[in-house]
């Protein structure tokens, strides 16, 4: 089987190669320039461009044709395709993938709305890829993907709500707009949509809240699988990871970088975590 996702999964290159995951890119536009996310520009490079830019970035979803092109080699070979995409509440990418599927009425293609993005979507893809590697059936991996969309939790923080607001992805966090005091909002993806959690002043408080959120899920008979990513906030993420690693039963699935498309919507300085509670046995 073939696993395909879009570039907002922000998976590290080595994992993409290891599991031969197909990546359909979204496009980033900043000023006069455009890039294919994941392929044309590295996250850190884009982040520093964005910090210096006076323009505001926009992004565009892949066309159905882009997904048709991605599906075709597998369909030709007769391999089933599992395509998992960024939350349909945040992007029309899922819609494009669905349209591409309808182009192959006889092929075995499943398109799943992940309800997540970045390290959340990446975590779902990685777990499915590992499962597929073990020889698990297409049907079972597809069921697992659908199950994971409900079980993975994604929390993130932004330095300012401006990017989420201007990009139209602010969701219920609009409640935090207009706060007179400067805050770093802590946010939660619920049902694929941005929800506010807390207005936070200091990095210290932010990190301890992240740790608290994961810690309360840790238990004797379970493990926590974690993925993290940042947009131009490397040192703080390193510190956060050090704290996470002290949580018993926690293992890091991977540490990534928030890619160009998601960075365009959260702004530089973002921190994100996704985790899954796995019961032993």
């Amino acid at each position: 089987m073939k696993i395909i996702t879009d570039s907002t999964a922000d998976l590290p290159r080595d994992l993409v190669q290891k599991y031969n995951i197909g990546i359909v890119p979204l496009t980033i536009h900043l000023g006069e320039k455009s890039w294919k996310d994941f392929y044309d520009i590295e996250p850190d490079e884009y982040c520093s461009l964005l910090k210096r830019s006076t323009n505001f970035p926009t992004t565009s979803q892949p066309s159905p044709q882009d997904f048709i092109n991605a599906f075709t080699p597998s369909v030709t070979k007769g391999d089933p395709v599992l395509c998992v995409n960024i939350s349909s509440r945040l992007s029309g990418t899922y819609q494009s993938a669905l349209l591409a599927k309808s182009h192959f009425p006889d092929a075995r293609i499943e398109v799943v709305d992940s309800l997540h993005g970045s390290m959340g979507l990446g975590l779902i893809i990685l777990i499915c890829a590992e499962e597929a590697n073990k020889g698990t059936s297409f049907e079972n991996v597809t069921d697992l993907a659908r199950e994971l969309t409900r079980k993975v939790e994604t929390y993130f923080s932004v330095d300012s709500l401006e990017y989420l607001q201007r990009g139209g992805r602010i969701g219920k966090a609009h409640a935090f707009l207009g706060t007179l005091m400067k805050v770093k909002p802590l946010l939660h993806l619920v049902e694929g949509e941005v929800q506010p959690v807390e207005k936070i002043r200091t990095t210290e408080r932010l990190l301890s809240r992240f740790v608290e959120l994961v810690e309360k899920e840790a238990g004797e008979h379970s493990r926590i699988l974690l993925s993290v990513a940042d947009s131009g906030n490397n040192d703080v993420m390193t510190e956060l990871l050090e704290r996470f690693m002290k949580i018993p039963g926690l293992s890091l699935a991977y540490r990534g970088k928030i890619g160009g498309v998601i960075t365009s919507h959260v702004g530089p300085g973002g921190l994100g975590i996704s985790f899954l509670k796995v019961f032993d046995g």
Binding site: T179, M181, K182, V183, E198, I200, R201
Partner: protein
């Protein structure tokens, strides 16, 4: 037997009897209340107002006619609730002004006092409507003026006044179509009639004598039907405003932009304000910018209204309301902005009363309330207030505005009460706060020599620095508060500090502490030149 004058003792008795008669008819007055909005509380409001007047009279140590009348006026003013209550309080203070200096009242004094009352009551209401208590009081006073030309017996005078009041009440539906539609007389007007009638009954010494109306027969059991009403101004908002900076007329001019049924009594020193508005928070914010706001009462008339006609089960779902106690218009704005539903004035120089906090607790929408006292002297008052209400109240031990603010930033209006309490409790303890205040006298404390007029820097309850320059004190206080783990230094500048000076100081701090963020906000607090937080 003719009665030719009224002294202190008799005056007290008639007021008590009048109040008693109103209280006894409270429920009926509530039932027929349709104007200006059918919120069904005219009887309760008039009763509460008169009970407040009676309490003040009964508390008198030195009883003279003047002290008694003044006590009635003052008590009713402080206790006034609702439109009708406020008008009643105006009538009593009008009477008090009219008879100032008298030891006993003759018929002509009473008539004169009543004309003062009428003037005062009409003045208090922004858009006086006829067919209300105002009309009844005015026509009663006019009738009295005619009677006194030929009659000096107070018994006869009052009898005639009560009769005039009654016929005026009967005419109210002709003047106010809404009353006619509902098949009722004006509740406030009828309340005033009861007040007079109670007095007359006492004078006759026979509760069955005098003018007696047949409650049942009068309206023939007419039920009040819902009257169409525009609910743009659904919140009946009342408060007491102390030490306002602007005149009553100017304030009325501004209030009229925010609502209707505006009643403003008192003066700039102490005013009681009543308004029907769509945005009670805006009104309260505006009022807070003028002076100290207390005794706040906000009623959702739509809820009152529908509860009378639709019998709803529950009205409230928001899990948690926050009440903060803070001083300074800038800080109040910041607290409101950060999610506090009500901000009560109070701080180091001005402690709120228990009843101020109780009324704030009662006023906010949720039955779960978190209080941020923000000062160590306010904390015990808040604890006491918390015990005096049936609501579930948690008082956090925040002892400065920055601590309160940090707690408040962790508040989420849709989180559960328990989560809010624990998140807010966890949010304020990492904040350090200090203050820069003017030294009122020279002193040497903890080895620091303080001269009168110096800016002293206080942190952890002790003077850390003293200097003639506020900037120098701020800089040195920050040094003693700061450690390497801290990220943000915040200055809230007080009402005695120029914005440009505060900005200069902010840049100087940022220059000196380059790895920290230095933020500046207008606090407007009167007691401290700067409040500093380090977190």
């Amino acid at each position: 037997m003719a009665i030719l004058y009224c002294g202190a003792k008799r005056f007290k008795q008639v007021i008590l009897a009048g109040a008693d008669r109103v209280v006894n008819n409270r429920d009926y007055l509530n039932k027929i209340n349709v104007f200006p909005v059918p919120d069904g509380d005219t009887g309760s409001n008039m009763s509460m107002t008169l009970i407040a007047a009676v309490r003040e009279i009964e508390a008198l140590k030195e009883v003279s006619l003047e002290t008694t009348v003044k006590a009635a006026a003052w008590g009713s003013l402080m206790g006034a609730r609702g439109n009708s209550g406020i008008i009643l309080a105006q009538i009593l203070s009008g009477v008090a002004e009219g008879i100032e200096g008298r030891e006993r009242l003759l018929a002509e004094d009473i008539v004169f006092a009543f004309s003062c009352a009428v003037r005062k009551a009409y003045k208090a209401i922004l858009h006086p409507a006829e067919g209300t208590i105002l009309t009844v009081v005015r026509e009663t006073a006019e009738a009295a003026e005619k009677v006194v030309k030929t009659e000096q017996d107070l018994t006869i005078l009052l009898d005639k006044m009560v009769r005039a009041a009654w016929s005026s009440v009967e005419r109210t539906p002709l003047l106010l179509p809404r009353l006619k539609e509902a098949g009722v007389v004006d509740a406030g007007g009828l309340g005033f009639f009861y007040f007079l009638e109670g007095m007359v009954r006492l004078i006759h010494g026979n509760m069955n004598a005098g003018v007696v109306i047949d409650d049942e027969g009068m309206l023939n059991g007419t039920m009040v039907e819902p009257v169409e009403h525009h609910w743009n101004y659904r919140y009946c908002t009342e408060f007491i405003l102390k030490g306002s900076q602007i005149s009553g007329d100017a304030m009325k001019g501004n209030l009229v932009q925010m609502g209707d049924s505006i009643v403003l009594v008192g003066d700039t020193r102490l005013a009681r304000v009543h308004i029907h508005t769509g945005q009670p928070d805006e009104v309260l914010r505006y009022a807070s910018s003028l002076g100290q706001v207390s005794s706040i009462k906000v009623d959702d008339m739509l809820v009152q209204h529908t509860s009378r006609f639709a019998n709803p089960k529950s009205t409230k779902t928001t899990s948690t309301s926050v009440v903060a106690i803070v001083l300074g218009d800038g800080l109040k704005e910041i607290f409101y902005n950060a999610g506090s539903e009500l901000v009560v004035d109070g701080g180091p120089t001005q402690n709120p009363s228990t009843s101020d906090i109780v009324s704030a607790i009662e006023t906010v929408t949720s039955s779960n309330v978190i209080i941020l006292p923000n000062h160590k002297n306010v904390y015990p008052v808040a604890i006491q207030a918390a015990g005096m209400t049936p609501k579930e109240v948690t008082v956090l031990k925040t002892s400065s505005a920055p601590e309160g603010l940090s707690a408040l930033l962790a508040y989420m209006d849709d989180a559960s009460f328990e989560n809010n309490v624990s998140n807010m409790e966890g949010a304020w303890k990492g904040v350090k706060s200090g203050e820069i205040a003017l030294a009122s006298r020279s002193v040497t404390a903890g080895g620091i020599e303080v001269k009168t007029g110096d800016s002293i820097g206080i942190y952890r309850g002790e003077i850390q620095w003293s200097s003639a320059s506020p900037g120098e004190t701020v800089m040195n206080l920050v040094v003693s508060m700061l450690d390497t783990a801290n990220e943000i230094i915040t200055l809230f500048y007080g009402d005695s500090i120029e914005k440009s000076d505060a900005e200069t100081l902010q840049s100087a701090l940022q220059q000196r502490f380059q790895d920290k963020t230095v933020e500046l906000y207008y606090g407007g607090q009167p007691y401290a030149q700067y409040i500093i937080s380090v977190e």
